[in-house]
Symmetry: C2
């Protein structure tokens, strides 16, 4: 169940923040994978959309002509699909290897399109991205001298930054300095970086501290979840998406069982509080979701003053809403006045 | 990618075991959620199928007229769907509450069908199931005196038993004794238990140690995964399902990144070896899948003599194949002679 009012509020709030600081928003659609919600973000001022897969790009291209693939597309099949899309819209891809540059170039040339490339720089997460300014320069040179692709700027993902307020400020200043170093080096060699794309939901409202940043691409902020609540990045009232469950068993003492498990919520632990359980039970806040099976959630209710009864419906805010939504074919969109619409998760289930 | 030969071998092996010990097999279809593989299990001698959800039951009813819902259906909507199915096939449901009995009864009466009920007994997992033989007797009485439902026997799930050989034998003997206690008590009160349904993949080939058992319902055995390999219940050669990934980044030292993450494998840890990583890389067995994001898998290759190159395709056996398959709309079925067929995961994405 997704509450429209909260979604609209979350989207508006980030849009206002970005407007104030002169940042563009390119929301990562991985969180909702839904064309309807992408439209809503675009109507609120997003200047483009972010996706992870070619299949997601194909879905979102029906809503938007400016797409960023925040993923190192390497294999020829994926490159070809993106190159085809690039005939009709602006397609950019984040890359960290010459192989990606070569394969995207070959694909683009073969269908007479051009793909914009952003050089992915590792700013501390150690997942993807070139390690040094010199590596970034080398990749920029490779892109600039390759047909079918266009050097559009820099890409980073500060997904390692989960620290609160003051530490986050310092960590972001380090990211900022790292990006400036690359930009300066590029400039001395004649390369500009019109786009500097980064950001995540935990750092979203601190994005102005990344001085060279031109656009941010948070995903989770549209719904929020227990990761962002427990991380201190929002409150429970900002959580737009919840899973409605039924109590299916109360046979074991001090425990209830809900009809949602790892195939409903995912088994992702809460990043800022790994031992906090598998989500938050809204109506019984003292309850603890201790154990997930595929279709069962065991809930310790020993601390609850009143206890959920068998057959009762309760509402769970999951730890991580992105993979949770990805498990569903659709979700229910509830307007403030009560109307409910079934919304398809259009871009789920894509292989690449 | 699912290899037909290994599936056929896994299915045949369990069928032979069960035939030898006079046990019926009712495979849990949660692992494959595919009508094609259900047919294959039925052709190999399975006497019925197990499902968790009404939506899964509706799919599998197109293949089989004898279904067990291994889940406490409680809410009226789910009960009604099962009652409707029970007009055309044998539908049994495992229950551990009088509420479930009442709601299933009401649903069955309203559509003029009968639902068979198995009393769910907790044999040590502490998830669902009544706690004592007396509770089991009380529930049997309630069922026997309620219209629209029929008392068909007992249900248990030994999902807590992951111990090897000797300890497993003792644990199963305890389960056996517990079931016999209930059966004896029922008999003294005039209740029979024609069906005693239980089992899981880790205990599958020890099922004959549960003396009163009449049928087993393992799921994972058809594919196997790193849970069953590391648990000592099979070998890597028995793993029929793997995820084919591409190396998309090698930018970070001693690491490669694969294009599969928690939205591909699930983030389920390996039960017998939680720190072993997020699966097994077949071609590079010294590699360790250290960290999953939604679409990335970071792999430590520091111990690998030769290292996977960017763009290379590699094969991952996931920790837990059931939720992994559930993330896919389809999988690729590869015959020994090389033919490949796309098989739909028919029963995925069902809400209840």
């Amino acid at each position: 169940m997704v509450r429209a009012e909260i979604v609209q509020c979350n989207v508006r709030r980030l849009a206002e923040y970005a407007r104030f600081h002169g940042l563009r928003i390119r929301p990562h659609t991985k969180t909702h994978k839904s064309r309807k919600l992408a439209r809503l973000q675009l109507e609120a001022g997003a200047t483009g959309l972010t996706v992870a897969k070619a299949g997601e790009a194909e879905q979102m291209a029906m809503e938007c002509e400016d797409l960023l693939v925040a993923y190192p597309a390497v294999d020829p099949a994926r490159c070809t699909r993106l190159a085809r899309l690039a005939r009709d819209c602006t397609v950019r891809v984040a890359v960290d290897s010459t192989t990606a540059v070569e394969n995207l170039s070959a694909a683009a040339i073969s269908v007479a399109s051009t793909i914009g490339l952003l050089v992915d720089i590792d700013v501390g997460m150690g997942r993807t991205g070139v390690a040094t300014p010199e590596d970034a320069l080398e990749l920029a040179r490779a892109i600039a001298s390759t047909k079918g692709v266009r050097l559009d700027g820099l890409f980073y993902y500060p997904g390692h930054i989960w620290a609160a307020a003051d530490q986050q400020g310092r960590a972001l200043a380090e990211v900022s300095a790292r990006l400036e170093e690359v930009i300066d080096l590029w400039r001395t060699h004649g390369f500009e970086s019109p786009i500097v794309s980064g950001g995540s939901t935990p750092t979203a409202f601190q994005s102005h501290l990344i001085k060279p940043g031109t656009e941010i691409r948070p995903g989770t902020y549209i719904f929020n979840d227990m990761n962002t609540v427990r991380g201190g990045f929002c409150t429970l009232d900002d959580c737009a998406a919840a899973v409605v469950c039924t109590v299916v068993s109360t046979a074991v003492k001090n425990q209830i069982v809900l009809d949602g498990g790892s195939k409903t919520f995912t088994s992702d632990r809460c990043i800022p509080a790994p031992e906090s359980g598998h989500g938050h039970l809204m109506e019984y806040s003292e309850a603890r979701l201790t154990q997930l099976s595929e279709e069962h959630c065991q809930v310790d209710v020993s601390l609850c003053a009143s206890r959920p009864k068998i057959g009762e419906r309760v509402t769970v805010i999951p730890n991580h809403i992105c993979p949770c939504v990805n498990l569903q074919d659709a979700f229910y969109w509830q307007e403030a006045k009560g109307d409910i619409e079934r919304v398809t998760v259009d871009a789920r289930g894509k292989l690449s």
